[in-house]
Amino acid sequence: MTHTDWPLWEVFVRSRRGLSHTHAGSLHAPDAELALRNARDLYTRRGEGVSIWVVPSSAVTASSPDEKDPFFEPSADKPYRHPTFYEIPEGVQHL
């Protein structure tokens, strides 16, 4: 692979109407239009999608592993925030 100068893109695919776009993976492409087409070929060839977003990976601001504890640790000891005290009625889907 010689074209390491092509930017990286993150791909989000919505599998069907009513669901949200989910991160599917990433790919290289010279521009957004071709990234969209590459995403179609790489991530929806088995009928997985009805909609695709591509985002330059450089535009993603990610939390750092160093910040893991201050970011996520405090929520662990607040069980009242977790919806674990409910009986889920029968027949409710997507929970």
Partner: protein, 245 residues
């Protein structure tokens, strides 16, 4: 040629012509597997190849046994356009070949799909595939033509080199009724001029038909590279008849 039960309703010659176009171009595109400039493009070309292979299977099955037709015919019995048998060359040649053929195929299948002939069901599905193939080729033509000096020069060389094989596409295919071939050619030229213009490329001015005419593929006359391609495509089946996965 052996007649099949449906031979009186299916125009066999036309099924072979369209089926061989799809089969041969599918094989040519498959040659990029492991060699494409980037992994993403390799998958894109393989996807297009698989679409074409699917079309070829339907069409050749209309004309007879698909495996016998694909793997046991001699070169002179193939009815594909000479354009689709041309080697991939550099990436620009592959894209130019794709542009010329997929615009033609899109326009042709669009016409076939709106009719009620034997190819209408296949064309209805193929027209969507061809629309994507055409878009893929157009996108790359724009980027290579209007790209760097190097990519522009290579793309111009490719559209020039393959130009003489394009006239053949508009010779009427025996057994396909209801297609206005001169109108198809005018539409094709309009699209190609538009795309090449936007890609800052020059539309080739060489002859596409004439006293000496490239393009007797539909009559079974093929160019030199086709024999080598066939040998590679057919050798497994000929060496191991009936081999399956």
């Amino acid at each position: 040629m052996t007649t099949t039960p449906a031979a009186d309703t299916v125009p066999t010659a036309a099924a072979l012509a369209l089926g061989d176009d799809a089969l041969v171009l599918s094989h040519r595109l498959g040659e990029w597997a492991g060699h494409a400039p980037v992994l993403e493009e390799e998958v894109a070309l393989a996807n297009i190849a698989l679409d074409l292979l699917g079309q070829a299977r339907v069409l050749l099955s209309m004309a007879g046994d698909e495996d016998e037709l694909a793997f046991l015919r001699e070169e002179r019995a193939f009815r594909n356009l000479q354009l689709v048998e041309q080697p991939g060359g550099d990436f620009a040649h592959t894209i130019a070949r794709q542009l010329y053929f997929s615009v033609y195929q899109h326009l042709l299948h669009d016409r076939l799909a709106s009719g009620d002939g034997p190819f209408a069901p296949l064309a209805g599905k193929a027209v969507k595939e061809a629309a994507y193939h055409r878009d893929h080729a157009e996108q790359w033509t724009l980027r290579l033509g209007d790209g760097t000096d190097e990519s522009h020069a290579r793309m111009q060389r490719a559209v020039d080199a393959l130009w003489r094989f394009t006239g053949e596409m508009f010779q009427p295919v025996e057994g396909i009724d209801g297609v206005d071939w001169p109108a198809l050619e005018r539409d094709w030229l309009g699209v190609i001029e538009d795309v090449l213009g936007r890609a800052t490329l020059t539309v080739p001015d060489g002859p596409r038909t004439g006293a000496w005419r490239a393009g007797a593929g539909r009559q079974g006359l093929h160019t030199e590279p086709f024999g080598r391609m066939l040998a590679e495509m057919q050798h497994l089946h000929r060496s191991h008849p009936g081999a399956t996965w």
